[in-house]
Amino acid sequence: MKIICFVKLVPDVENFKYDYERNVLVRENVHQILNPEDCSALSVALKLKQENIDVQVETLTMGPEGCRPHLEDLIKRGVDRSILISDKSYVGSDTYVTSRIISRYLEREAFDWIFSGTHSIDGGTAHVPSQVAECLNIPQMGNILRINQAGLFSDRVRTEVDSEDAVLQFEIERPAILSFQYSTKIKLPYIKYEDLERDVSGQLEIVSNSRLRFCDTETGIAGSPTKVSQVEVDSFGRKDTRFLKCDDEGIEEVYQFLKQRGIVCS
């Protein structure tokens, strides 16, 4: 059985610092991390591989060549093969174009399941898995909390999905894209000591446009139907913050504040 895991590298937004004085986002030295939800999805796949010899796990990433070291790290953790779709003409593609590029690669690949995150922490659109599924004409389900792993080996798998007011159960037919939610319960396997220095470059494959053959006007900023027209820092800092101590005076001031705003009545 072959599982392809989408892996996107994203800026580590959790460690973005915000400079409220200057009203800017401090983006220097922000490093790239694996999108947390992709990490959860990949962890499920690698665990399955550890427990079943006939499971093959591949990762698929579209991004700059700089992603390489991360992908090599994943290979050392047990991924069989990593694909990096990378081409200068793809820079600036929106989700519509990204999905078409990824789909064109996948059209010629055999796989049983695709695992992905539900949304990424930088774009956060949750478009790519659904749009790839649409291009490939296969089912897709997002916000997956759990799956019935045995089902992966059959024609349909049971999934538990975190929805608005309920946890829903669905059966999804193979092949399909299963998009997971972030979970703290499962982690990537450690790298074994003997693998630390292993040369894994042979398991990493770069796919460029010479293979996928889009014309220039179809990809990148030029080919994207949406365009970012304005970007601004969203600031809602206040200038008039009052700092109080937790003494009688401070508590009284908080109380008066609540009263003035009608939160408590006297």
Binding site: L25, Y96, H127, G142, N143, R158, Q169, T184, C246, Y255
Partner: protein, 315 residues
């Protein structure tokens, strides 16, 4: 007259109706005809607010089969040529919108929180980088303009007395479903923190005595909410989490106890009218967003403020 198609998510009817306000902000009040598409039997609330209503096949009714709804939207667009398609950014809305956009070969903007106009163009504003930036996005690909819209941002207050016309919709059978609904387990339906006027919210600084927040919430007639760290540690249920991966709230008072104010948390409280932070660290980012910062241990603050409020009441 512009035509706007709105997807009505059976699991979030009010949020779907609210998109009528977004439509008015795009084209102006009364300048567009609203078409609602709903899976299954239409809920009573939608009559009177939409101009036209289309219900799609009851046997694949719940709106869980995103490919089916996308096919329906494509078919309807061929018949009616919509100027805009709006979908609430609910769990299933977020699976339907990207598929429908692919079928209509149009760009899609996710999680729109604001509509602006610039040189005749419709600018769809959405948070980026976990909410620390706003990006204004335009669709260059031509019609229809398509977006998923963040819940609880727009609010429809227009007429509810329209004569809603139901449109028959019996398309050829679409693709066979690859998804089968099995069952549903309701999540505990405590109160919805989005409806509270006062939120007493706890972060990792109060994880170990999270229960104490209840009493403060009670005297303030509010509810308790939490940061994701507290939820991840198992001290609070997920449905009371505030923030990017939790809920967007707009109370008139938000009391942040032991919350540092990470980017992902703060996106959830942008619309809070007043913020009081209790935190010994005055450098914590939450502080610069607050009207009042009490530089103290929350454990000390909670009983003292409760006492003061009670005294005020019983005086």
């Amino acid at each position: 007259m512009k035509k706007v198609l709105i997807y009505i998510d059976p699991q979030a009817v009010k949020d779907s109706i609210d998109l009528l306000e977004a439509a008015e902000q795009i084209y102006g009040a009364g300048e567009s005809l609203s078409y609602g598409i709903v899976p299954g039997t239409p809920p009573a609330d939608v009559f009177g607010v939409f101009d036209k209503l289309i219900s799609v096949s009851p046997d694949r009714a719940e709106g869980f089969d995103a490919a089916y709804i996308a096919d329906s939207i494509e078919k309807l667009h061929r018949d009616f040529q919509f100027d805009a398609v709006l979908i609430p950014a609910t769990v299933f809305g977020r699976m339907i919108a990207p598929r429908a956009a692919m079928r209509l070969q149009t760009g899609l903007v996710a999680d729109v929180t604001e509509i602006r106009h610039h040189d005749e163009e419709i600018v769809m504003v959405r948070p980026a980088f976990s909410g620390r930036m706003l990006a204004g996005i335009v669709n260059r690909g031509g019609a229809p303009v398509m977006m998923s819209v963040r819940q609880n941002i727009f609010s429809y207050a227009g007429p509810r007395t329209k004569k809603t016309e139901e449109i028959n919709f019996n398309p050829e059978p679409f693709r066979k479903p690859g998804i089968r609904y099995i069952s549903s387990q309701p999540k505990p339906q405590d109160e919805d923190i989005r409806e509270s006027n006062v939120l007493v919210s706890g972060g990792d600084g109060v994880t170990r005595y999270f229960d104490q927040l209840n009493e403060l919430a009670e005297v303030l007639n509010g509810s308790v909410s939490a940061s994701r760290k507290v939820v991840d540690r198992g001290a609070a249920p997920r449905h009371i989490q505030v923030g990017q991966s939790g809920k967007i709230v707009n109370p008139s008072l938000y009391i942040a106890l032991g919350i540092s104010g990470s980017i992902q948390h703060v996106v959830g409280i942008k619309n809070a009218e007043n913020i009081i932070a209790v935190n010994p660290d005055r450098q914590a980012p939450i502080c610069s967003l607050s009207n009042i910062v009490v530089e103290a241990d929350a454990r000390e603050f909670i009983p003292r403020i409760i006492k003061r409020i009670r005294k005020g009441e019983y005086k």
